[in-house]
Structure formats: C-alpha cells, structure tokens
C-alpha cells in the first residue's frame, strides 16, 4: 500500500539491489530518445543518470531505464515502479507540493521557434490578440507564455513532432518549449529558426517521492560530484556540442 511504499527507504533498497530505476523520456531528442536499432534509450539524461548511479552504487551499480510519459511519470513513481524521474521536468512550486525535487541538473530556458522571415523576433511580438503559440503537453511553458505574452493564445499538442508539424501547417505563429529541444528541431528543419534567445529559466530537477529525503540528499551529493569531476561538462559537450546556435558553454558547471 501507499504508506508502506513511502515508508520504505528507497536508498536502502537500491543499495541492497545494486540498482536504481529511473523514469526517463523515450521520445525526446538529445535528452532521452529510444534508439530504434538497439531499443536502448539514449541521451544526455540517460548518460547523466548512469554517471550518478555509478557514483552512488559504485562501478558495478546498475541503472535501469523505464520510459515514461508526462501522464505516467508521477503514478509510476508513487507506485514504486521507478525510484526517480529524470525526464525534462521543470521544477516549480505547484509540482513541489506533490514530489520532492533535487537541485537542478540542467538549466534550460524557454525560447520560441518561428519560420524564417517571420515578423516575430521575440516573445514580446507574440503579445497581441490573435497570436497563437504552440506548446507541448506536459511542459512548463504555458504559464510562462501567460506571463510574457498574456494576450497570446496557447495550444498544447501531444508531442514535439506534432507541434512542429502544426507550426508548419500554420496552426500557430510560433512554437515554444525549452531551447535545447528547439535547436534540435531547427537542425532538422533549416527553414525554422530560434529567435530572441531564452526568456525564462527552466531548471530541470530529478523528482523523488515525498519523504525520501535520504535518497534525495544522496542524489544531490552525486550530482555535485559529477559536476565537480568534469563528467557533467563532458556529457554536455557530447550531446549539445554540435547543436548549432545552442550556447552550451554558458551552461557548463
């Protein structure tokens, strides 16, 4: 039952089983994407999770990855199917009421993607009646648009490809989400560009069940460790070094 689950000490069990089970994205380029050839999930978050697992459990520690969607990640965490969520999840106060976050492991910023030659050059240009901004369900971007361009209407689609396709069909004036992802799209579609730089901070955090303070603290410690020993920067370079226009140097730790 629920109480039993939260009573269990996740850290203790993980150490005993020599395994940490991570909930990760399987459909998000650069962060967590299933590789069709070998059916393994790959990306920055995966590599980071692996590094942190090794840090916590030692060289032979095992990281298991369970693909999650924005609808399933919290119930899976609650039911104990996964120990932690590392899935482009922005830390915000509303969410912090339901789960505990570690400190941020990636400082994304929200940006907008538009068609080349579009009259829209920054989020400010979207602040007018009739402007439509496309987003993706499960990202934190809606509330932010509400702050930066309150007059615009936001449509959320179920994944990035659908949102981009909707943009191409003229269903919206701009596509907004975290800059890393937008730059990825821009590489595939040179006719679409990221404009205006990022206008928010979207700190991604690892979520664990409430009450698992020991585990959370251990994760924080591991994160600091991989940042300090250069692993973090190496991974940043590996995944974002080639993304045109994305200033990953700024994000080095």
């Amino acid at each position: 039952t629920k109480t039993a689950l939260s009573d269990q000490d996740v850290l203790q069990t993980d150490v005993k089983d020599n395994t940490i089970t991570w909930g990760v994205k399987a459909d998000t380029k650069l962060f967590g994407l299933m590789d069709i050839k070998d059916s393994k999930v790959k990306g920055f978050e995966i590599d980071l999770a692996k590094a942190m697992t090794k840090e916590i459990l030692g060289k032979n520690g095992k990281a298991v990855f369970v693909p999650v969607t924005s609808q399933t990640r919290v119930p899976l965490l609650r039911n104990g199917n996964i120990d932690a969520i590392m899935a482009t999840m922005t830390i915000n106060p509303e969410r912090a009421k339901q789960v505990d976050f570690t400190k941020s492991y990636f400082d994304a910023g929200q940006a907008i993607l538009v068609k080349k030659g579009s009259p829209i050059h920054s989020v400010k240009d979207l602040n007018k009646k009739g402007a439509i901004v496309l987003g993706v369900t499960g990202s934190n971007s809606v509330q932010n648009i509400g702050k930066f361009a309150p007059k615009a209407k936001v449509l959320q689609l179920s994944d990035y490809a659908q949102a981009l396709t909707a943009l191409k069909s003229g269903q919206g004036d701009a596509l907004t989400t975290d800059n890393g992802i937008l730059y990825g799209m821009s590489v595939e579609n040179p006719n679409y560009v990221v404009v205006g730089g990022s206008f928010t901070n979207e700190p991604y955090g690892i979520a664990v069940n409430k009450g698992q303070t020991k585990f959370k603290n251990r994760l924080n410690k591991a994160l600091t460790k991989v940042e300090k020993d250069g692993t973090y920067n190496k991974l940043l370079d590996k995944w974002f070094g080639h993304v045109k226009g994305f200033n990953y140097e700024e994000m080095k730790r």
């Binding site: 399987a26 459909d27 969607t69």
Partner: protein
C-alpha cells in the same frame, strides 16, 4: 518526398512492424477473452435473474460509459494499490478485456432480444429448459445477427489498443511516435504508414465478417 523515402528505411519499417505485432497480440488476446466474457455477461443481463442481472447491468453500463483510456490508466496505476501489480502488457490486455466485454455484452443482449420469441417457446414446449433453449437455440441465431455489430466493435478494439501508448505499451502507435521522435519530419509519413497498416488489419476483420455473414446466412 525525401521525407517519405528516409522515413521508410528498412530499420524504421521493421520497428513499426514490431509494434504491429504487439498490437495484433493484444488485440487477439482481448478479442478472444472479451468475446467469451461479453457473451456470458450479455446472457446474464438478458436472462433477468433477480437482482443479479440488474447489478451486472449497472456495472456494464458504468464501465462501457467510461473512456477506455481511463480504464487502462486505472488498471495500470490503480490496481497496485489493491495489491495486484500487472505488467504493462497484462494491464493493457486486462483493461481492454474488461472494457470490450461490456461493449460486447450489450451487443449480445440486444442480439438475443431480436430473435423471434417463438424460438424460445418452441424449445420450451419441446422439453428443453430455459438455459438449454438460450444456449442451443437463441444464442447461435443471435450470434449470426450480431456479426456486423461485433465486427465493428472488434475493429474499434484493434485501434483502441493504441490508447495503451499512455502506459508505454510498445504497440504500433507508440513505435510510430518513437520513430518520428528521431526526426520530426517523419511524422506525416508515419501517419500514412499507420493508416495503411491499421487498414490492412481491420479490413481483414471486415472481410472475415462478410465471409461469416454469407456462410451463416
């Protein structure tokens, strides 16, 4: 056009077909199970057994009126709270079976209702019991009339398996999403491929129904 050529690389197609295989497996399992349970429930509801039929009837109405998506959700995430923790595949089949059984129960009930009442009277006066008359005389005739409705339901079922993407069942729709996750330009080619593959499977069911319809006519 180039998008289509790239999207239909052998590796992607193979991945899509792997998804199709799961779709078909879940569909076949759910069709067989829900056909059995749906028939039983439909008969119980038809037979007007005191209290029992009314209760079953209420449960049938309740479940068939809920979105399948939510039933899948509850099966996968709610049941562990009750001490049963199904795997993704089990949860998908279980949820589909529960839901589709209720839809089929309703079809079976209305199928039996539509059989001429003389058939049951003939059976009774011939010495058969009510249940024998139901099983041997009414049900086979009802089944024949129900073929179009049943097959429509099974076609819905096949496509509804895609709702289990929500619990990350590796079926065809989910695999398509993974593929266009690699490159967002693949989305339209993938939707076209989905349309074709679902069509092939479902149309095969349609043809089967026409064939059965003719054979039993």
């Amino acid at each position: 056009m180039q998008n289509f050529i790239d999207a239909y690389s052998w590796i992607n197609i193979r991945y899509l077909l792997q998804g199709l295989r799961v779709t078909v497996e879940v569909s076949v399992a759910s069709i067989i199970l829900s056909y059995i349970f749906g028939t039983i429930l439909g008969i119980i509801r038809y037979a007007k057994i005191k209290y029992f039929s009314a209760i079953i009837g209420f449960v049938i109405d309740l479940i068939r009126n809920l979105p399948l998506l939510l039933i899948i959700f509850f099966t996968y995430f709610g049941l562990p709270n009750l001490g049963f923790k199904p795997a993704i595949l089990e949860a998908a089949i279980l949820a589909m079976t529960v839901f589709e059984s209720m839809m089929i129960a309703e079809i079976v009930r209305s199928g039996i209702v539509s059989i001429d009442s003389g058939q049951m009277e003939g059976a009774l006066s011939n010495g058969l019991t009510y249940w024998q008359g139901l099983r041997i005389i009414l049900l086979p005739q009802a089944m024949k009339n129900m073929i179009p409705a049943l097959v429509s339901q099974f076609i819905s079922l096949v496509k509804d398996t895609s709702l289990a993407t929500i619990i990350v069942l590796p079926e065809m729709m989910y695999h398509a999403q993974i593929i266009y996750g690699q490159n967002s330009n693949y989305i339209i080619p993938m939707f076209v491929a989905l349309a074709v593959l679902y069509f092939v499977v479902c149309y095969a069911l349609s043809l089967l129904s026409r064939y059965l319809d003719r054979r039993l006519a």
